[in-house]
Structures are given as C-alpha cells and as structure tokens.
Symmetry: C2
C-alpha cells in the first residue's frame, strides 16, 4: 500500500472543523507541569487525551507513578506482520509567564492569520494531536489501522521528569516497535517541511575555582596570590582557540565528519547568513573555521559558557580580590562523541590549564549522547513520501543543534530510531509569549500521519 | 631642638587615663558617614573634635558644604620661620554591619588584652586623636607648639566624598604646609613600627561585552555566533601571562624599578612567605616572576578581576547562550605609571584582543596615580627619630599595595609629601567586625607625634 485510501482524505476534510474545536478544548486546559497549582489541570489534560484515544477507537489508560504526572498509554495492534510505530508526544506545557506580552490569553485559543495562538499550540499539544486524528480517520473509515500503533503521551517533558525513562526501561517489551515517531520539531521554513535526522548531545559542567580562604583587599594582597576570577577566565579561555576550534585534547577524535551529501544538501537550503546575522543583531558571525553556519549549528560540536559569577557585580568600583569564582559551560556533541569520554578529557584539560595557587571542582551536571537517525530505512523513506503527499513538497533533511532527550532514551532502551516529523515553524514562539501553530499545518500534519501509516504498511 | 622637653612626657603620663576616656567618648558616637540615619551622629563627632581642639588650645571651626559632612579645621601658627605640618585624619567610620560577629557592641568601646575594641578604634578616630593629644601636651606645658600645625579632619573618608578635594583645590594658600602627616596605616608587625613611603595607584574599569540582541538557545545557536561570556574570558585572560606579567602593550614603560636599597630592606623584614600562604589557606603563592612577595605586594603593578557576571548562575543546568557579560577589573599602579596613559593602553589592548562577533564598552570607574614619598627629606628623618624615641625601636620603611587617595590629592594640590605614620596593626580588623586598636600604641603614637613636632623645629 502506498497512499491512504481516498475515504481517509475525505474524512479529514469533513471533520476538519471539529478537529480544530477539539484541539482548542485541549489547549484550554492549563496543564503547566512545572506549577503545582496546576497539578489538577495537568491530570485533566491526561484524562482528556486518554478519553479521546478511547473515543476514537484506541484502548488507552493512565500509567500512574509515585509522584509526578501520569503517562497516557494506548495501543491498537491489529496489523499482525506489519511494522509497529511508537508515537510519542507530551500533553504538558511550559509556564505561560510572562503574561503581559500575550496578545490573547495563553489558555484561550485565538485564531489570527490562520494560526491558533495558545500555550502548547505547537509544543506539543497541536503537533501531538495530529497523530490521534490520523488514527481516528483510519478507524472511523477503514475500521482498523494499517500498522500497529502505540501511543505514549507523557506529562513531564517540560520539567525533565524521570518517570518516562523509568517506564521505557521497565517496559521494553510492551513498548517494542520498529520506529518511534515524534512531532515536536519544526519545518525548515514556511512551505518547506523537514525531517530532522540529527540531534546534538551534551556535556554540561559547573566549574568552581577557589583561591584564598577569604575575600581579600586587592591593594594589600593583589599580585601576591592567584585571583580565582583571573584563573577562571584563563581556564575557560583555553577551551576554544581563535579559529573557533575546541582545544581540549582528543576532543575531535570521535567526531563523525559531515558526509558529502549532507554538506551539499545543507548548501542548497534557502538560508542567508546575512539575514541570520541581521536578525541576531551582530555585525559578523563567528564559528569554527572551514564550516558554514548551518554546518556549525547542526553538525559540529560547540563550546559555550552559560554563566559566570564571582566577586562584586554591584554598582561602582569595589577593590576586592574574591576567593571564589564559578562558571557553567557545556559542549554540544555530535556523533560519535561520548559524553563520558569528553568529561574525562575536559577534566584533564582543566588540570593542565589551571594556573598555580587555586583549587577547582568540576561537577558534571548533565550528559547525553548525540543522535543520528539512519536516513536509509524504509521508515524514513515512508515518512518522506507521506510528507510530500500531505504538504505538496518533498521534505528537506535537516539536523538540529539542540537535544531531545527522549530520542536518545528510545534509542537506548528500545533500540530503534525516531522519525522526527515536525509540523511547526521556527517562529512559533515555543516557550515564549504568543506561542502559535499554523492550522493549515495542523491539517497537513494529520494527513501526513495518516499517509505515513499507509506508506509503512508492507 | 631634638627631643621634646621632659615636661611633655610627664604630661602625657599624667593624663594617659583621661586621654583614653576621651577617646572612648569619641568612639561612642556612631559617625557612620555612609548611613543617612547617622547624619546627626556624624555631625556630633565633627563638633566633638572641634570642641576638643578648641579646649586644648587650637582655634577650630566646622567647614560646611552644600551636602555631605563638614570638615573640622583648626590651626595654630605660632612658630614663625618653623616648618608647617598639615595633620589629616577623619572622624567618620565604616558601617559596623554585620553586627553578629562583634564580641562587644561596636559603639561601646571595650578593653580586652590591652586593646580597645570599637568601630573606628584604629580607622581613624584612635590614630587621628593621637595628634590632638600631642598638641595638647605642648600647649598645656610649653604654652605653644614648636612648629606650625594645621588640623584637617574630614567626615567623608569612608564614602569617598568630593568635599575634601574641592576644599584642597580651593584653599591651597590656607592649607600651605611643608609636610602632611597622616596616621591611618599600620606598623609592619607588633613591636615593629613603620613609615609607609609608597602607595600604589589605581586604574579601575568595568567592561561590558554584548553579543546578539537577545539571549539564545545554546543548542540552536551555539557555534554559529560569538558567545559574549567566552569572549569576555578571552579578553580578561589576555591581560596577564602565565609568568604573572601584564600583557598590555607598553604597560611597564613607566614603571620605576625597585631600588637596590629597597629590595635589600624588604628582604631583611621579618616576613615568612610560608606563613603568609598558610594564613591565606593557599598551597602556593603566585605573582610576577623575579620578585618576592613583599616586592609584588608593595612595588610591582598588578591586575585583578574583581567581579564577573553574565548568563545563568542559579542551580542546575541552563542551556542559554547569553547576550551580555561583564566584569570589573583593575590595575594597581606604581610610580611613574599614569592612570590615564594606562587606560588608553588597556583600551587598545581590548580592541586587539576582542574576538569577532561581539561589541564592548569600557568604563573607567576610578583612576589615581601612585605615590612615592621622598625618604631623604628632613621631615622623613624627623619622623624616623620621633618614632624611634616613642616606640623604642627604629621604624622600618615600607610600601603598601593599597591607595590612600588623599595622599595623591595633597601632592597634587599642595605639592607636598605626606608622612604616613601608622600606629595600627595589620590585624586591627578595620572595616570588619571587632575593630581594635592597641592602647599602648595609642600612647606611643601621641608621644611620637609630640616628639615629631620637636624634631621638626629648626
């Protein structure tokens, strides 16, 4: 089977208005997982998703944990011998604050210029919901799904909850699948859908440097003892060279080079470095020599300081020689760098580059490997065709500089690749005020998901 | 005349208890110039000093300004043809907070182990008051002072008030003198009095670095744009080399080398680098190669970062690529470095060492030249003899890494050197809790001041 039957497309067209109404209903539930005041609302969103799954024909339940928010799990396995999809999404949303910049209330979905504005519109209620409606179209017309589908919709994505990983680790048989599908990313540009096939990993550190046992007067003691702020700057400056390359010994040993087809494909994307710089308000871009901006953003490892502190930051001069300084910094990693190997190399580098007279502590705060999805699988090809059908244009294949931890967890526990099929746009303001989602893309997403099921069926 | 007449010493002995009682009275006045709640107390301290001057025989008045605290000015010019001393001190004190660590209340002078504990005990009420009592001894016995004396006791030293400089600039004839005398420093060690003949200057800056026009996600944008925190660290790290030498081009051009006698004298002082390091709790000291710790502290220019800020400093990881970073840093200068020349060199250095993709602003927050007192004048010799008489041991000649701005102002406006005759100890906790002053040193200081007047008279 290649395309979905025409009855599916017809069903989608007939029920488009109702689908929007249902989405708005879900968006009205302020399921802010980070805010305990909204715990009841967050649970209400879980129940709403579970009830919709049951209503459309997928038996579903809430998986409860000792603490935190439940997972909605539902499955419909009526295609023996066919592939199994694990559709992941999340029903929780970021806090809407600050409220003042919102043009319409964050939990009162409002349509302007073909977009629905609401917290969670694109991240991830609107995108996640497309897969439910795709399943509905199959079940309400054909009466069954052409592949096996498992829905795993969690409520702790925005707070980095640990229940999902515990569930993945404990239920590898229940969750066994051929591909995971996640719609929680963006298209490359309006009218240019994309499949994201690479995500960076992360090695995040906090470095604390200690000098004397107390703050000192910089006149009386300056020049005689090491200043931990000067020392911290020296250590951090030593991490990256003037050519933008990271100076940690062995850092690039396991970096998988960009393939020729990738560099060619990135170069053909409609991307203007001048527009990019202008939007950011910088006179010039800066990155690793020998790579384009998209290559740097998507496929080359990076090193960024996230925070610096120490000494006096108030108004006016203060001549203190502080005894403590600290920084947070991280490396974004690419395949096949290992975040534990990198952490060891960073530790050795700091050992070598710390000037005399101070001590230091390095805390490894977060580590995750990079992800590269195999672009040659039948599933990847099926997703490409389904998106082309629904969006009217062939998707481009892109990578992303950020991390989506669940993709790594799925790879680790279920041993499968994830198809990252994003229906959003880069300017959807996820996590910010006036979050939005294009209703046209909402419907295209539903159609793409419905066709993906058809394309995947053998 | 060489020594003061014996009647002076007898008077000092007879009135020692009353002098202490008067000092305690002055110490009970919470003249915290920084705290508006204490404005009336600060004025009360000024009046108290003025009244004591008048009572002991020096006509005195309050010099009022549009705002801030008055100067107490008194003079007794009954030694025509003899040198004139300008005795400077201050009646205001640092805030006593935090109060919790004080063993006795900061404004309730309490004697323990021969020291009086109170805010202002050493800085500067106790030290300043010695010169009033010395004048009293002369006036109540001999009936006149052997030299001309002008008292200039201000009330804004601890807040860096501008009234003093305006007064110095406007009243150069009234304040004309041969030497200024200030007792607001310390002895080298208990039992080892010192004359401080060198002070460092200062060039203090705030540097602000700006990257993009907004904070960015370090995953999505990392590696593609310059990170102002990384850039700031690079700039600051470039200021000093691994050998502890400052890398700003031309920085050492005007540095006057230590003289052979100074290096020899410093080397003979009872100073243990090991004890110094142990007290500070550092495994090793660090400073400019080729110089001892005392040479680095007193006579070599330094570069210290005082504060760093930018990005996220809260708990846990945050993957932000911040758009702003900043730092405060300064150079302590030595003769004959000019703080304005240094500021220009620093500006050029930052221009050269700022990586691409960020802009920066440098604010010059404070600048002052270094001071080196001529150690070959008759006044310096007189002070040396007077201290030897009063303390029973010849003073050592030391320098100091800090700055005392009034010394530079006096040099600039009155064209005279200052004799820095410190009666304090290094552990007197000035500016901290449990500030103290040795009562034995209080009386020795009075005697040294009385003998200085004799030694100076031709």
């Amino acid at each position: 089977m290649a395309h979905a039957p025409e009855t599916i497309d017809a069903y989608l067209a007939d029920h488009a208005a109702r689908f929007e109404g249902q989405l708005f209903e879900l968006l009205r539930i302020p399921s802010v997982s980070a805010q305990p005041d909204h715990n009841a609302d967050t649970r209400r969103a879980a129940q709403w998703v579970r009830d919709d799954l049951i209503a459309l024909g997928v038996p579903a339940e809430l998986i409860e944990f000792d603490s935190g928010h439940p997972i909605v799990y539902g499955e419909r396995l009526d295609a023996p011998g066919q592939p199994t999809l694990l559709i992941y999404g999340h029903y929780d949303v970021q806090p809407p604050e600050p409220l003042e910049p919102w043009l319409s209330p964050p939990f009162e979905p409002t349509v302007r210029d073909g977009n629905v504005y609401a917290r969670g519109a694109t991240d991830d209620k609107g995108q996640m919901f497309t897969h439910l409606k795709a399943a509905e179209a199959w079940l309400k017309t054909v009466g069954r799904l052409p592949v096996n589908v498992k829905f795993l919709i969690e409520g702790e994505e925005e707070v980095g909850g640990k229940n999902l990983e515990a569930f993945l680790a404990a239920q590898t048989r229940k969750l066994a699948c051929d591909y995971a599908v996640i719609s929680d990313t963006s298209q490359f540009a309006p009218g240019l859908p994309a499949i994201t096939y690479g995500l960076k990993g992360l090695a995040y550190f906090e470095l604390r440097v200690q000098g004397a046992n107390r703050d000192l007067h910089s006149g009386t003691f300056g020049g005689a003892v090491q200043n931990p702020l000067n020392a911290l700057c020296q250590i951090l400056a030593s991490l990256k060279g003037a050519d933008g390359r990271i100076q940690v010994e062995g850092f690039y040993d396991d970096v998988r080079p960009l393939e020729d087809w990738e560099r060619a494909a990135f170069a053909q994307l409609p991307f203007s470095e001048a527009d990019f710089a202008a939007d950011l308000g910088v006179a010039e871009l800066f990155g690793e020599v020998g790579y384009s901006t998209l290559e740097r953003k998507w496929a080359r490892p990076t090193c960024d300081v996230h925070g610096l502190w120490g000494g006096y930051a108030g108004p006016g001069p203060k001549t203190v020689l502080p005894c403590k300084a600290g920084a947070k910094f991280s490396f974004r990693l690419v395949p096949d760098q290992d975040n534990r190997t990198i952490a060891q190399a960073v530790r050795r580098h700091i050992e070598r580059h710390t000037p005399p007279g101070v001590t230091w502590e390095l805390e490894e705060m977060h580590g995750a490997p990079a992800v590269l999805v195999d672009t040659t699988t039948p599933g990847f090809a099926a997703a490409t065709r389904a998106i082309e059908t629904a969006f009217g244009t062939r998707p481009v294949f892109i990578r992303e500089g950020g991390s989506i931890p669940v993709v790594g967890l799925i790879k680790q526990h279920l041993k499968v690749d994830t198809l990252l099929l994003g229906w959003g746009q880069n300017d959807d303001n996820l996590h910010g005020p006036n979050e939005k989602f294009s209703l046209a893309d909402f419907h295209r997403g539903i159609r793409a998901s419905a066709h993906l099921m058809a394309e995947l069926a053998g």
